[in-house]
């Protein structure tokens, strides 16, 4: 009962159990935290708006994105993954979500920012339904913790629309 192997086994089991409990409590502490983020997106310019040879609409736009996401950071936050997606409805699809731009915010200091950018990923529809269509721009964030449960939420900004004609 007192040999080296039994003592080592007991020590290892105990330390792994304690580590697991600590990780669980760390993750639970994230639930006590209520964030209050804010964001604004302006579409500065529709650079071009064309129909591809395969028949899908494609648009390129330039946006001003400003946000203050500092309240989302806790002691258990490793990084914040944020992205801006355009959401719209078409006759065939009840929902389309296209990610236009994303970024990784590694720390609280970087969480308050302003950026002027064109879309990082190609905005291609499944079809040619975009002319004159209204769409929402949503800023999503995914909190990636140092350990435990991941959270995600978003801010929906409405009122954007495509031009009536290709250009």
């Amino acid at each position: 009962m007192h040999s080296f192997v039994y003592r080592l086994n007991g020590l290892l089991t105990f330390s792994v159990t304690i580590l697991a409990i600590m990780c669980a409590i760390t993750s639970l502490s994230d639930n006590l935290h209520t964030p209050s983020p804010s964001a604004e997106i302006q579409v500065m310019n529709i650079n071009w708006f064309q129909k591809q040879p395969q028949g899908n609409d494609e648009v390129s736009l330039t946006m001003n994105i400003s946000a203050d996401l500092q309240t989302l950071f806790t002691w258990n936050t490793k990084q914040l993954f944020i992205f801006v997606a355009a959401e719209y409805e078409t006759p065939k699809n009840s929902l389309n979500q296209v990610s236009l731009w994303d970024a990784i915010i590694p720390s609280k200091e970087h969480a308050k920012f302003w950026i002027h950018t064109s879309n990082k990923y190609r905005f291609v529809d499944q079809g040619n339904n975009l002319r004159g269509k209204e769409f929402n721009l949503t800023l999503h964030w995914h909190v990636m913790p140092k350990t435990g449960k991941m959270f995600a939420d978003k801010i929906v900004l409405t009122g954007y629309s495509f031009p009536e004609e290709y250009r």
């Binding site: 990084q79 993954f81 992205f83 997606a85 699809n93 995914h142 350990t147 435990g148 449960k149 991941m150």
Partner: protein, 180 residues
Amino acid sequence: MGWIGDTVDSVKSIQIRQLLTQAVSLGMIVTSALIIWKGLMCITGSESPVVVVLSGSMEPGFKRGDILFLHMSKDPIRAGEIVVFNIDGREIPIVHRVIKVHERKDTGEVDVLTKGDNNYGDDRLLYAQGQLYLQRNHIMGRAVGFLPYVGWVTIIMTEKPIIKYILIGALGLLVITSKD
């Protein structure tokens, strides 16, 4: 006939009862591990409720060696979720983020495009020939939580199988030679 009687005596002296008890307790350990695994599969609704991150395509969020807890619910798949999926013809599951969603009005089915955070382009290069989107049946689960570094045990055992054999051999030896 004398030596047959001697052999039978020496076989009886191994204490059949003790051997059987040890075999049963070993079987209990293996079966309870299996019960826990299958129970997790039922609770999370996913074929493999825990996966190990094998590549660096989701850095700096998930590094090689982290483990991810998966959950599959009937909720629709939305942009930004981290999903684990299998490509037809490939056995290794891939953990990437959804960047495009097209959900059909009539059937509720969904076309999904994924991309690793640390990759430059989307995953169309990884999909099967001619496949432009993933469907729900390709997706094994959503990542809902993670633990860092714990998956290195699995990676080491897969890449250097000799360690797996040594571990199992040592465990087996320990069970057989323990007196209680």
